[in-house]
């Protein structure tokens, strides 16, 4: 035993001495990469040492650190998609701090010219299942009523299924919507939708970067099973004041940004609101609708090594509808978030971030259908504190470690009752709903290792502990990504991840309105967990002008929740006792081809997948298809820059129909015309029917009007003309059963929502 200990000690001493000798022979180049015009820090910019053929990328805050061997002179290329690359030569004897500003490349021809140094992260990075959503495409691809929308673009990516017609809900690799962690500047956004999901809450003018991770999760991410959608707001222009905005059919938006002190601090405020409720008020009667959202962010350089960010977001939807067929509803929901972050660069190799995040979400939905009243209230308040460090010991390692504490309060309620003759029924007030208090601690460490020129690994471990009402759950979540490069443009990747989730969105299978309720794990509701294995082949062509990939995955999910059969939510019931628990599994293969350069850019993605669930107390214990199990999913997104004035874009979507439940038989039970007399439904399988396939083509044309004048001020304008659902395909929204009033024969009725919708909007930028 002592001998072994001494051997181990000797090895550690030897390793440290070798490291110190190596460090004495090395230097570190560190700093930030920014946009020349706005001063925005650039995420994912590449720094490449041309002498030693090693490189790194900037982190979320634009920071980089690259350690290399000393040399007389060293050459570097700083590059980023959409920016002119910059070459730098330095004397390579001492460590150096260097902040680089990259200039945005002009449109069209410049795009072709920079292709030789284009980012090839998709092939070279060890992580798989990560897609950086191209912000440029978000601004050109067509959308409903001309509203640019990041979540609509997410739905076009491989492995991502859209939810119902026109909505921004998305389902990643067989997971439910609650299994997607949507973060805006690290704050969780529980409901990223407006207008029942037609638009997302994210105002694209205020966004800097959007990344979707759907597999091979690094250890710093946790708390959800299926995906992380990491959205970063712009920091604000720290060079000069700028105003941009848009006037659309449904909403208008305005973004103001500028320096508080040039190069030192800046702000950005962005707001959006609908105005149909104001303009059309006399015609709306008992119907009313509006939404708004407001983003604000301030950042300050406290010193050369300290930076403070304060950001916030608030959004609200308020709707009331009085319609035919006794259908009435009122809905009020909103997200509020506030984030304070402190970046500290302790050394050229050590970067830390400390965050405190507040989060508040509520949904209050009341509805009347067929003389039954239902109300759902779902409230969540979170307080998060995080500490993350990034350590770059040498060019072969990048170590992330940290701790995350989260204090969560959930207050869910659901009730449904027949409306009494008096018409008076009890309305739930949020103050009266019992609170569910829980805490989560999570520690993690992650090392991105370049083992050789060909082999890279990303090895991580996350240790979350959840506590509620004296019940604790602790887990060990191993994370592993392996990349092997076959050549500079081809690599094979594999990933294994285990994830746990301590919140659950219980979906209602009956109502077509968003009546899903968030609840916390606890003594009776075990955390959801998943294991996912993925394998991928990545290949770029023609100097990375074309990216292609094929990824296959297999994922198992435990402790999935659904409502028990026959559940009627009552105020007197505890929601947790109305649930049943089961498992799910999903597997599929995803193809992706993306063209990055030239007049025509865009991508084609195709996913073939299958997702099933199995609950002991549902569907006679047999497996059944997941509601959003759609076998084929094809998306094509294309942007064509015709000339300097006109840009055209289109996207086409085809998916197999989702699953829904209808009885297959009728069981007669007759006796004396009693209350139970009649026919009953014979349900043979859950989710036994399929909607018709969904397909849609959207097109848009953008007329650029640069260098315009408005009261002697220069501005760039653009008209955006769009047509959503060009050939007016009546895609299925939901199906309900009715009885023919004369023949009494049951009928299935299908409702479709969005026909062809033309739109026009005007955007400007001062």
């Amino acid at each position: 035993m002592i001998k072994t200990y001494l051997q181990l000690l000797g090895f550690v001493c030897f390793y440290l001495s070798v490291q110190s000798v190596l460090m004495a022979q090395s230097i570190t180049l560190s700093g930030y990469v920014r946009d020349t015009r706005t001063g925005e820090s650039l995420i994912g910019a590449t720094i490449f040492n041309t002498n030693q053929k090693i490189g790194t990328t900037t982190n979320t805050y634009g920071f980089y650190s690259l350690t290399m061997q000393k040399a007389d002179t060293l050459g570097f290329v700083f590059s980023m998609v959409g920016y002119e690359p910059q070459l730098k030569k330095i004397t390579g004897q001492n460590s150096l701090s260097l902040t680089i500003a990259l200039a945005e490349s002009a449109r069209q021809l410049d795009e072709v010219r920079i292709s030789a140094t284009r980012n090839y992260q998709n092939v070279s990075a060890p992580q798989m299942g990560v897609i950086d959503v191209p912000m440029k495409q978000i601004k050109t691809l067509p959308a409903v009523l001309g509203e640019r929308d990041v979540l609509k673009i997410i739905q076009l990516l491989p492995g991502v299924q859209a939810g119902q017609e026109g909505t921004t809900g998305f389902f990643v690799r067989g997971g439910n919507t609650d299994q997607n962690l949507v973060q805006l500047d690290e704050a969780t956004v529980y409901n990223p939708n407006h207008l029942f999901g037609l638009f997302s809450t994210f105002n694209t003018n205020a966004l800097k970067n959007v990344s979707l991770i759907k597999g091979g999760f690094p250890a710093q991410y946790g708390g959800r099973l299926s995906s992380i959608l990491d959205i970063s707001m712009k920091d604000g222009n720290n060079q000069k004041s700028a105003v941009s905005g848009g006037i659309g059919l449904l909403t208008s938006n305005l973004t103001i940004e500028g320096p508080l002190k040039k190069d030192k601090s800046s702000y950005i405020v962005s707001a959006r609101r609908t105005y149909v409720d104001l303009l059309a008020k006399p015609f709306l009667g008992g119907t009313n609708y509006y939404f708004y959202d407001l983003n604000a962010k301030f950042n300050f350089w406290l010193s050369k090594k300290d930076r403070l960010f304060i950001s916030g977001f608030t959004g609200l939807d308020n709707a009331a509808y009085t319609g035919a067929n006794s259908l009435n509803y009122g809905i009020n929901f909103g997200n509020n978030t506030a984030t304070i972050r402190w970046n500290r660069q302790f050394s050229s190799k050590l970067f830390t971030n400390t965050s405190v995040i507040l989060n508040d979400y509520h949904l209050n939905l009341s509805t009347i259908q067929n003389n039954y009243y239902a109300q759902v209230y779902s409230g969540i308040r979170d307080l998060n504190a995080k500490f993350d460090l990034e350590y770059y010991p040498n060019h072969r390692h990048k170590i992330n470690a940290g701790v995350n504490y989260s204090d969560n309060t959930f207050f869910p309620s659901s009730t449904s009752t027949k409306i009494p003759k008096s018409g008076i029924f009890k309305v739930v007030k949020s103050d009266s709903i019992p609170r569910q208090y829980s805490t989560v601690w999570a520690f993690y460490a992650n090392d991105e290792i370049k083992a050789s020129d060909n082999l890279s690994l990303n090895i991580g471990l996350r240790l979350p502990t959840f506590t509620r009402s004296g019940t604790s759950y602790s887990f060990i979540e191993p994370r592993l990504n392996i990349k092997y490069s076959l050549n500079p443009t081809t690599s094979i990747k594999a990933a294994y991840t285990e994830m746990n989730q301590f919140v659950h969105l219980v979906p209602s299978s009956t109502a077509s309105l968003p009546t899903d309720i968030w609840i916390s794990s606890g003594p009776t509701v075990k955390p959801q967990n998943s294991r996912q294995i993925a394998l991928g082949l990545f290949k770029n062509f023609e100097n990375n002008a074309y990216e292609t990939s094929v990824e296959a995955y297999y994922k198992t999910m435990q402790n999935q929740v659904l409502f028990r059969e026959g559940t009627q939510p009552l105020l007197s019931n505890q929601l947790e006792k109305l649930l049943v628990f089961g498992n799910g599994n999903s597997y599929g293969i995803e193809f992706f081809v993306k063209k990055n350069v030239g007049k025509l850019t865009g991508w084609v993605s195709y996913t073939l997948s299958k997702t099933t669930q199995q609950f002991d107390s549902l569907n006679f214990s047999n497996p059944f298809p997941f509601t959003y199990d759609k076998r084929h999913n094809l998306s094509v997104a294309a942007t064509y820059e015709f000339n300097k004035k006109w840009t055209f874009a289109a996207n086409f979507v085809f998916t197999s129909g989702g699953a829904f439940t209808m009885p297959t038989g009728r069981i007669p039970v007759f006796q004396d015309g009693s209350l139970y007399d009649g026919t009953y439904s014979d349900y043979t399988t859950r989710n036994n029917y399929r909607f018709r396939p969904y397909h849609r083509l959207d097109v848009s044309a953008i007329l650029h009007k640069p260098n315009r004048k408005f009261f002697k001020k220069n501005y760039d304008g653009e008209w955006v003309f769009g047509i959503y659902n060009l050939y007016s395909r009546r895609n299925p929204y939901f199906v309900y059963l009715a009885t023919d009033p004369i023949t009494k024969v049951p009928q299935a009725k299908e409702v479709s929502l969005l026909p062809i919708i033309p739109s026009v909007s005007y955007n400007f930028k001062f």
Partner: protein
């Protein structure tokens, strides 16, 4: 001025375009009858037979049909060509098709009726043969009779089904496991009667006809000395209408079947209740019940309002 007027015109265009778009959007959502290709459905049978001592057995036998099948009524779905036998102690009663007229529904209801009265404390076996299928089950008539102690009326009562009027029945719980209760009320109704959904019979006249209301809810023994159930009447009433209430004490097989029906009925009415799958309980290859009940003496009940 030019700039301002251009901007104003643009705003006007956008304003009217937005109004047009919103109206188009609200009108354009479309509903249509769906041409569903029905999934293959293997039909089976629905069986209802509750043995009550001192009464001849009565059995309802209907075929199940694909969901969108136009056949609806008992007359269309009744199985007339089955061989139905009930055997006990070596004695076999072969049941024959029979019918009664339902005055409210204006039509005959079909069932099988036996000739031999059911005895107490006996074990009965049911055998049905139809289209090369056998359906068998047993029932034991060892249930105690539970007398109704008193009854009253409540104008508004709230339970799972929402607010409804109720017939309140008090009785002494047998305090035994696997005992369940259900109420019936025999009444005479005329053309003024409506069912609980407000539907009027198309054929009733001033001449009164007899109907039997059977409660849809079955109540489990609570093991307490006194138990009260509040039943929702099937038909609406007038002040002074008279009914005769009986309490059925029933076995677990009957409870399992009717409780499932009740839960599914609730999910059919209330759009916010999760659907309920009916599962075969007593028969492996059919839906239904072959159970035993013990029926109390009737108690006169007068609607006070």
């Amino acid at each position: 001025m030019n700039k301002l007027s251009t901007t104003y015109i643009r705003f006007k265009v956008l304003f009217f375009a937005s109004i047009v778009a919103v109206i188009a959007l609200s009108l354009a959502s479309c509903e249509k009858n769906l041409g569903v290709t029905p999934l293959p459905y293997t039909g089976t049978v629905s069986i209802q037979c509750l043995l009550s001592p001192n009464e001849v057995p009565q059995l309802y036998l209907d075929r199940t049909v694909p969901y969108f099948d136009p056949k609806q009524t008992n007359a269309q779905l009744f199985i007339r060509d089955a061989v139905v036998k009930i055997t006990s102690g070596g004695q076999t009663d072969v049941l024959r098709p029979d019918s009664t007229y339902n005055g409210f529904r204006c039509g005959f209801e079909y069932f099988y009726r036996g000739k031999i009265a059911i005895k107490t404390n006996s074990i009965y076996q049911l055998d049905i043969q139809w289209q090369w299928q056998n359906y068998t089950a047993t029932a034991t008539t060892d249930l105690p009779v539970t007398p109704v102690e008193n009854s009253s009326y409540i104008q508004a009562f709230n339970d799972l089904y929402g607010e409804h009027e109720g017939v309140v029945i008090n009785f002494k719980d047998q305090n035994k496991p696997n005992l369940y209760y259900r109420y019936t009320m025999a009444r005479m109704i005329d053309s003024t009667a409506r069912d609980a959904g407000g539907t009027k019979s198309p054929c009733l006249t001033d001449k009164k006809v007899r109907i039997l209301e059977i409660g849809r809810t079955t109540y489990a023994s609570k093991g307490s000395s006194g138990l009260t159930i509040v039943a929702e009447p099937t038909f609406k009433h007038k002040n002074g209408d008279v009914g005769y209430i009986r309490l059925q004490t029933m076995d677990k097989n009957a409870y399992d079947f009717y409780d499932q029906l009740d839960r599914q009925k609730l999910s059919q009415f209330n759009p916010f209740v999760e659907p309920v799958f009916l599962k075969p309980t007593q028969f492996k290859n059919a839906f239904g019940v072959f159970g035993a009940i013990a029926v109390s003496d009737s108690v006169k009940f007068v609607y006070p309002e």
